[in-house]
């Protein structure tokens, strides 16, 4: 079913997908519009001829015990997805949890921490500083964070125009051509996964690299992780790494009480992680 469809920039692809979804009622019935937007095979495969979103159920796994805090994922994500290079716009970020001797609560920091920015040299590069090198650390670990692409996403629920939507394959996407920039979704996400692009006037967040996964590739953060702390795959596929990850480990999700049903599964996180 592969055709010679040209490489499509992410925004164009998402825009076409969103518009197709928004206009579903109008174009249902195989009008010429649908044919023009998605090719002749559209009746068999939606939203594009070479990717059928009804056949996948994507999910993400994070093994915090493997993360070394190198931040390759953060750097790669910023580059791949053209994310604003500063300390307040992240599709993925990594948190450092450190328990010092005699302390019951973790000290937590991430990329917006002034000491880390100073250690990085600028807000456009990312690394953790060495503030704990002389401290007596009893326990420490890194927790990669990303949009949870929830089963019942509060961000999708609150969007007044339906610009953010849940695709059939489980990913939560944003149509930047339809977003009105009210930022209700940013408020509604309990995980802080969304941000606002001031220059474009729209909300943004991780798409699990939708432009890659729909072509059979992995999200870039998964690809670059040197320790395989991040796994991604199709829960419908019994041989996938994510299926194995979920089936063979006692997994946790973040803030389960929110009722959002996160689809990022964690192993190796501690009580203070939220």
């Amino acid at each position: 079913m592969k055709n010679d469809r040209k490489k499509n920039p992410r925004r164009e692809f998402l825009s076409a997908t969103g518009k197709a979804l928004a206009g579903l009622g109008v174009i249902a019935g195989g009008s010429s519009l649908l044919g023009a937007a998605t090719g002749d095979a559209a009746t068999e495969s939606f939203p594009t001829a070479d990717y059928d979103w009804t056949k996948h159920r994507w999910a993400y796994g994070i093994d915090a015990t493997k993360c070394i805090g190198c931040l390759r994922c953060v750097e790669a994500c910023k580059a791949e997805n053209d994310v604003v290079r500063d300390a307040t716009h992240f599709r993925t970020w990594v948190e450092r949890y450190v328990y010092l001797e005699g302390e019951e609560k973790a000290r937590v920091d991430s990329h917006s921490d002034p000491k880390n920015i100073a250690a990085s040299g600028s807000e456009a590069t990312y690394r953790f500083d060495n503030r704990y090198q002389d401290a007596k650390v009893t326990k420490a670990f890194f927790v990669p964070k990303i949009c949870n692409h929830c089963s019942h996403p509060a961000c999708v629920q609150v969007c007044p125009v339906g610009a953010t939507f849940k695709a059939e394959d489980g990913t939560v996407l944003i149509d930047h051509d339809y977003c009105i920039g009210c930022r209700y979704c940013v408020q509604a996400c309990p995980y802080g996964a969304r941000y606002f692009i001031e220059e474009e006037g729209v909300s943004d967040k991780c798409t699990w690299c939708y432009h890659r996964i729909t072509k059979g590739l992995q999200p870039v953060c998964v690809d670059v992780c040197p320790t395989r702390a991040r796994v991604f795959g199709d829960l419908n596929d019994d041989s996938s790494t994510i299926r194995e990850f979920v089936d063979n480990n006692p997994v946790q999700v973040l803030k389960p009480e929110s009722g959002n049903g996160p689809m990022c599964f964690y192993i190796g996180i501690d009580k203070d992680v939220s």
């Binding site: 969007c159 125009v161 610009a163 977003c179 920039g181 209700y184 929110s258």
Partner: protein
């Protein structure tokens, strides 16, 4: 990109506080609309005669403020030109999808109500004027000059129906805004079943307080005596509603603290630190307890005359400050408490810019500039010797 200073741990994306002063002004204006409409309804629906001197002024106030309600939202949106999408393709699960419809419905209702309330006056004005002025008032009456007793009776009947529909519409619009916050489970400071009710009652007190100030100021400017029964009636209403609002707000806070859910530690740190002055001193102390005590004294000591006017006006101004602080403390406060439950942020209000202090002040005062013009065109005053 400047980011908000923080303590503790906040998610990196929380570094920019997204809902600005414009989202403080927006529920403030909406509350004034609902409150002013309530004052108007005291007379137009419930027939409370002592509110007659302010009933029509209240209606015009409600209309003038309502015309500005969408402005802060539009100034805040990343793509204001797309705001119409919320009406063309509303996403019905969103608590905000219905705003455009509710607001439009209420706006039409207000315009209709004003039209009927001022219709006979406008017919008379058209008759007694010439040239362009005559054309203006003829146009305003839609070229209808029927002021027969039968037509007036019909006006009254329709007005009553409009006002009866208007009460739930005005309060629905505002309670709905409370729901937008109260239903947002990502923020502990907002997530409260009491939020819509608190928004509603604080709206009523803000509207009553506003009308007290407007009535006193207008009477002074027009050099006409203040109707003490009217001012006293509004003071009583303010006193009662304010006590109720204060109890609701106190209960909400008590609930939050007593339940002690995860994240309450950050909230306690917040209310005892950065929020203390804004919340306990300004909102509760000077904004609610002080006016309740002053109004209690005004009533208990049966104070009359100039002292009563001064006391009541001061109370009304304090309550207007109280409600503004309440909006600020909810909207900004909620965002200053990090979703991590482990940190606090500080919002800095820029001076200039479309979401800055100057824009906010202009936007808050603009409806009253419009009201000044509108009261010139359609005098709402009910003092018999001067009415036209």
């Amino acid at each position: 990109m400047e980011f908000a200073p923080f303590t503790g741990y906040v998610y990196p994306n929380e570094g920019v506080i997204q809902w600005s002063v414009m989202i403080v002004i927006y529920p403030y204006l909406t509350g004034l609309v609902a409150g002013a409409f309530t004052v108007s309804s005291f007379y137009h629906v419930f027939g409370m005669q002592q509110f007659k001197p302010v009933a029509r002024l209240a209606l015009l106030t409600s209309l003038c403020v309502m015309l500005f309600v969408p402005v802060p939202l539009l100034m805040h949106l990343g793509h204001p030109e797309r705001s119409i999408y919320s009406m063309i393709t509303p996403h019905l699960t969103s608590a905000f999808a219905m705003f455009g419809f509710f607001a439009a419905f209420y706006m039409v209702l207000l315009i209709l109500e004003c039209w009927f309330v001022f219709r006979v006056d406008n017919v008379e004005r058209a008759r007694n004027s010439t040239g362009l002025k005559r054309f203006f008032y003829r146009a305003v009456t839609l070229w209808s000059d029927d002021d027969s007793p039968a037509a007036r009776a019909l006006d009254h009947k329709l007005l009553l129906i409009l006002a009866i529909v208007g009460i739930p519409a005005a309060h629905g619009l505002h309670g709905y805004i409370g729901f937008v916050y109260g239903s947002l489970k990502a923020r502990l400071w907002w997530e409260s079943d009491l939020m819509p009710i608190i928004f509603l009652f604080s709206a009523i007190v803000s509207g009553v307080a506003l009308l007290m100030v407007l009535y006193v100021v207008a009477s002074k400017l027009r050099r006409v005596p203040i109707d003490h029964a009217c001012l006293k009636g509004m003071t009583y209403a303010l006193w009662g509603f304010l006590m109720f609002t204060l109890i609701l707000e106190g209960l909400e806070f008590a609930n939050l603290v007593y339940k002690g859910k995860e994240g309450v530690d950050a909230i306690m740190e917040y209310v005892q630190g950065p929020l203390f002055f804004r919340y306990f001193v300004l909102q509760f102390g000077f904004g609610a307890l002080l006016p309740i005590m002053i109004m209690g004294l005004l009533v208990a000591l049966n104070i009359k005359g100039r002292a009563f006017v001064i006391g009541a006006t001061i109370c009304a101004l304090l309550v207007l400050m109280n409600v503004l602080m309440m909006r600020w403390n909810v909207v900004i406060g909620g965002q200053e408490i990090a979703k991590t439950g482990k940190g606090l942020l500080t919002y800095h209000l820029p001076f200039w810019g479309h979401e800055g202090l100057v824009a906010a002040i202009i936007l808050t005062l603009a409806p009253f500039g419009l009201l000044w013009v509108v009261t010139r065109l359609f005098p709402p005053w009910a003092d018999p010797p001067r009415s036209t």
